[in-house]
Symmetry: C2
Subunit: 93 residues, 2 copies
Amino acid sequence: MFKPLDPLLHSQLRLAVMSLLISVEEAEFTFLKEKTESTAGNLSVQLDKLEKAGYLEIEKSFRGKRPLTTCKITKKGIQAFEAYVDNLKNYIQ
Amino acid sequence: MFKPLDPLLHSQLRLAVMSLLISVEEAEFTFLKEKTESTAGNLSVQLDKLEKAGYLEIEKSFRGKRPLTTCKITKKGIQAFEAYVDNLKNYIQ
DNA sequence: TAAATTGGTTTATATTGTAAACCTATTTAT
DNA sequence: ATAAATAGGTTTACAATATAAACCAATTTA
């Protein structure tokens, strides 16, 4: 009936990040920050967790002279997101 | 875009409880415990929070000689649940 | 050359979730 | 009659989590 909800995804900010990345495939740190209206610190921590879980890949580079952090959802991340949504439906329907 | 998710509802156990109460209107502690597969301690704490938020009413009585705790969702609880689900849809669609 | 801005990370703290321990009473077994 | 198990919870201690504040290094602007 109520299957457990992946704790990594059952978090407002991380879920928003995954939701964005599902649709855009790849996004910059600043883009995610704006869209989610989060603080940089909070976002940084949550991105780390998602990366450590293998739900996304984080690439650090430079754009001109500025650091640039780019995030991309992984196959595992997509699957986890879909499973989470499926399970969640049992709670909200 | 991503509206904040009511933290009181964005919790696996509390959401499961509300989900159950939405459909059955009224339920006993032990019923909720079984359906959610939670421990009594955890359930007790979470019910308290939902009651303090005015999302449900808790009535304590006796069935025969045994204590009986009955929970009923309130109008406010229903509204909060519906708002939560609406907001959540922005994250998972 | 000082101050502000960009693009973040680290860390300290407050909040939360959860299980373990506990409590009171009742029922069952010996 | 008494001990042990069960019912129906509550309280509390601890671990995990989320978040903002503080920080850092470099760049740009005044």
